[in-house]
Symmetry: C2
Subunit: 543 residues, 2 copies
């Protein structure tokens, strides 16, 4: 008991030496009985509506398996698999996947983190000269990586982003304003920043179905309404103007203002790349209906067929619209990230957003809100510098950089093609080939008995499929300390330890069933074989 401190205060603070206000002449009301302040009934009810399947029940169960396997012993050897394959999340550098960090990135960042390295007499035995030069330049601009930066991010990096965008889109030098570029803690943080400023409760946002669940989660949290527009699976998840118009009509009938429209291009989970023509239609629609266009372009560097299905940015398409009113009118926010592409630096939390045609006083409000979070992580900002300004031919690091990034690109492309081909060869499974991003979204032709069983379990059939694929029902039994592990849902031997997310987490057409798997997993033949065996058994079991 800190008597001295208490005494010290009592003498210094007149109010603490007096009885409290509750013991003055008139007796106060008794304090209300204690109840917890927070319960599911009393917290923000919007939170309860939020769903985020990528890290939901399945991921939690997969985590427990991993812990069980790591711990070893009989619980581990009871499991019918020796490792968990995390195909549920686009996390390329995750343990168990084989994407290595880009050497140039890590060399530069290590020197920025410990600047003594740049000046160390041994530096040139460890680092190539262009890495040292880049680290010196960044250190000069940024100072310590331990200091807050400008809330929009380091100005010199924002200037480089502007140049990158101009060159990517063939735009005039100086046409992109660095003051309208905000560095972010990844694209997700940028999306949350924009949505929370732009939207009022009850307003609607057009989102593709299937979508990345960040969007529905963010909208639920803001008490806003998703206005789904279904992508057309048969056309590699293409856009349909008719569907977009119907979505708008439905919103109008329901008296919901369509305030913004989200496009994910290349698509997550679909892997589709939009055509230039479809993008123009989206831009025109946003103009006609005064809709903010939010372009999630984080997979812009994950393109499998650059000749036939290249990436166009929405900025480029917008700036090439014929009507000047459209070019100046459509408000666009475009998001990019260091987490995907060939860098895959998810844990660093870095990215940027560009605001186009947004009124200055709204930009100022976005800046004010960004300032409350102080600044994006500094090495995430450095990652953006490295993303938009990689080594050039002739630089000391170029060859290694090229080798590393090409291997990553090629690996993704090859695995994706192999997987979709094999999935399409399976009875009861069909899969659109992906044109980009890092996922496949095969459809499962669910047998009637599987639908019945899912209904009994109170789960969507694709969730049941994903849980059986992982082997999660087994886990429930281990939890309950029941040792008869088999026959719980009809075949423990099926469990693969593969963690894939059910389509219902992303949204899908009624009465269709999908799973999303990443194309990141090494040993793809073995991994696909496990899925094939499981799938055939599943189909036979419920035939």
């Amino acid at each position: 008991m800190p008597d001295s401190a208490a005494a010290n205060t009592a003498s210094a603070n007149p109010s603490s030496s007096k009885p409290t206000t509750t013991s003055t002449s008139t007796p106060p009301p008794p304090p209300p009985q204690h109840k917890k302040a927070l319960s599911l009934e009393t917290i923000n009810q919007a939170v309860l509506q939020v769903e985020y399947a990528v890290r939901g029940e399945l991921a939690i169960k997969a985590d427990k398996y991993t812990q069980t396997l790591d711990a070893g012993g009989s619980a581990a050897s009871d499991l019918p698999f020796t490792k968990v394959v995390t195909a549920n999340i686009g996390n390329p550098q995750q343990r168990g996947l084989d994407q290595q960090p880009i050497t140039f990135w890590r060399q530069v960042i290590a020197m920025c983190e410990y600047p003594d390295l740049m000046g160390h007499p041994l530096a040139d035995k460890i680092f190539p000269p262009d890495a040292i030069a880049r680290a010196r330049a960044l250190h000069k601009d940024i100072g310590s990586t331990g200091a807050y930066t400008h809330s929009k991010g380091v100005l010199s990096i924002r200037r480089k982003v502007a140049t990158f965008i101009e060159q990517r889109d063939g735009a005039a030098p100086g046409s992109v304003d660095p003051e309208h570029i905000f560095l972010t803690a990844g694209a997700s943080a940028g999306v949350a920043q924009i949505m929370s400023v732009a939207l009022r409760r009850g307003e609607g946002v057009m989102i593709p179905i299937p979508q990345y669940p960040l969007y529905t989660a963010t909208l639920a949290n803001l008490s806003c309404k998703p206005l789904p527009y279904n992508l057309t699976e048969e056309t590699r998840w293409g856009l349909s103007s008719k569907v977009l118009a119907t979505t708008l009509d439905d919103a109008r009938s329901a008296n919901v203002r369509a305030k913004a429209l989200v496009v994910i291009n290349p698509g997550n989970p679909t892997g589709g790349c939009l055509s230039y023509d479809d993008m123009k239609k989206i831009v025109q629609l946003c103009y006609d209906h005064s809709i903010l266009l939010c372009a999630d372009e984080v997979y812009q560097n994950n393109i499998y067929d650059r000749e036939n299905k290249p990436f166009y940015s929405f900025r480029k398409v917008l700036m090439e619209m014929e009507d000047e009113n459209v070019r100046r009118g459509v408000e666009l926010v475009s998001f990019h990230s260091i987490s995907k592409g060939v860098s895959g630096e998810c844990g660093r939390r870095g990215g940027y957003m560009e605001l186009v045609n947004i009124e200055q006083d709204v930009v100022d409000q976005i800046y004010k809100m960004a300032s409350i979070t102080l600044c994006p992580p500094v090495t995430g900002q450095i990652g953006v510098d490295l993303l938009v300004d990689p080594p050039k031919p002739g630089d000391a690091s170029y060859d290694l950089w090229h080798e590393e990034t090409s291997a990553t690109q090629q690996g993704l492309k090859d695995r994706s093609a192999y997987m979709s081909e094999r999935f399409n060869a399976l009875p009861g499974m069909s899969c659109q080939p992906a044109e980009g991003a890092m996922y496949l979204f095969p459809q499962i032709d669910m047998p009637d008995r599987a639908l019945q069983r899912a209904e009994e379990l109170g789960k969507p059939a694709d969730v049941m499929y994903a849980l059986e694929l992982l082997g999660a029902y087994l886990w429930a039994q281990v939890d309950a300390r029941v040792r008869q592990l088999t026959f719980v849902v009809g075949g423990l031997a099926d469990a693969t330890g593969i963690c894939a997310v059910a389509g219902s987490g992303f949204g899908q057409e009624d009465d269709t069933y999908h799973i999303r798997v990443t194309a990141l997993c090494p040993g793809v033949e073995d991994y696909v074989k496990k899925i094939e065996t499981f799938h055939k058994d599943f189909m036979a079991k419920y035939a």
Copy 2:
């Protein structure tokens, strides 16, 4: 124009080869006229209510001065000062301040970022063995710093945090649950996470006045109500039970539920350290009224007089309450950060929060919401590891670590004492000595004519004071390209280039006026002398 791509899609996508839905038999309504989707009238109106003085008008103007000075030329030489002193924000490693990063931290982080360094044959010529060992251990637990971690943060680091808390508070080993510790992207991110889950629109949160404006900003954004409780300036910004009771009464009268109570200890901007006794009263009050206790304890390691005014955590006080119902009943969230203390690693965005006595299903909701942001920045998490487990006596890095951190502690303490002494010697200024944190919050006895002038300008008098101190009125004239730079508010020669935040940004008792200055600036004699000269001129001018 990408004809091939467009043609490719047109043939693949039936809907794009048909006319859109707007050209079917019945003519559709014409699209509404284009208006921008986003304007101050149409965005989320709660955003307009948000204020964040630490990075507001003054900081923006200071930024422009810095850019002008960096650019050189006549605009720079017109200014009556040669550097901007950023005393507005607790950013210890900012350029121009002299706090250097802790060497051990940066060595470990550099190796985690570029693991080849650990195994490099030259490693032991560059890094001490304990830094290499720590980097190896972290790399083993985390894997790549470029991968997402668990959304609560790396488990092994959360376990270390639990041990740190137990040892700090003298609690039993194993009494802190790592599953109730969430690593965060700094304390600000943690506060936003908790508030956004805990609060419903219209609910109230008791906040100290003065406060760190993060709290009012967060509440405005959530459409919640601040319920201010004034700290008592004369008792070194101590707590008054009477004031707390009055605040609760006022809330009750206004029919506002007091859902949570924020305490900042040590205080920002006040520098006050709460006594154990006052803390017990807060805990009891939270129990009596079923209020969530949010303890902002980010300055827990910035304590100037550890014997007489030590730091106690609210967790410790809570766990030592006599009534078991209180110990088990009061819901506490405590925030800590790597941005303050002796590390000052603001730019890394790292910290943690501990949830105590929060119901498990609410913890699950907080986890779900954390999972949407995927994970805190990984090197911020590593920073937490280094914060809670620094080098020990006998370790190779201990002596240097001790020397570096002691110098930082002593520098803060000495500057703080020197500044408050000098401020108190000034006519028209009084200043409570700080007991901790990194700020001083002197009061200005504002002359009547200054109040009149401020009213004419439409600004609070302390904002006018802070703007004159910086020299910001000059800037407004340069902006307008008027070259008669003097006499705008009565004396350009006063302008110091010192950026300090007005008290009204933090809240203060009616008819009192303060500024907040950091105790971080090097060359403190010179810096204080500038403030003294300015202040005397200011008082004389408005006498």
